[in-house]
Amino acid sequence: MPHFTIPISPQGAVLDAAVLVGDARRAALQKENLTVPDPQMIRALIDTGASISAIERKVLENLGLQQTGEAEINTPSTGATPVKIPTYDVKIAILAGRKGDLHFISETVQVTGSDLTQFGFGALIGTDILKKCVFHYNGADGHFTLAY
């Protein structure tokens, strides 16, 4: 499998990524003579505690996305009762390395919009994307490897 290895940051397994409108939405925008928003560059944290990936709300706003779904989710603040939250369709490109090399672009995935600025990154890459990867976190040597 293709893979890359990068150092673990103080925040954890963080890498560069880009969030894009999906192919179908892109085609719809072009058909309606609307501008296709540019990809949004972000820092993303690989989070094995997230079963759905989350994108900073401002990033989704910049992409002009509209809600296309809904999910029920539990977070540390929801208690035992899950909350219903809107979901959006995007593609996520994983970049890494000194030159920000493009490693892979996901298929269109369902993500939540969230206020992540307080954490210092623009996305949480959850197990919905990791399920197609091999993720090796080598804390002892201070790096992680993602194979895809």
């Binding site: 719809a28 709300r57 989704l60 809600q67 809904e70 539990n74 809107p86 206020d115």
Partner: protein
């Protein structure tokens, strides 16, 4: 609320869609448009049929799964 009508349609029609459990349904207003095996196919059909107008894609599950997030996330709706 965005997709209010579509989400109400999903809830109302869920019992009759049980034989499509696990598939993705495309809903526009109060109309069930079609069923798809993959999320990607359903989203594609939604944009091809309705352009940038609202539509809902939802996996048919008689018991709604609960997803998890390791941290509290604040407001989630895009303005």
């Amino acid at each position: 609320m965005a997709l209010e009508k579509e989400l109400a349609t999903y809830t109302e029609k869920l019992p009759s869609m049980a034989n499509n459990e696990g598939k993705f349904v495309l809903i526009h207003g109060d109309k069930i448009v079609d069923f798809f095996v993959t999320y990607d196919d359903a989203i594609k059909a939604g944009y091809q049929t309705f352009g940038t107008n609202p539509f809902l894609v939802k996996r048919i599950q008689t018991t709604e799964p609960i997803l998890f997030m390791s941290r509290s996330l604040g407001p989630s709706r895009v303005a």
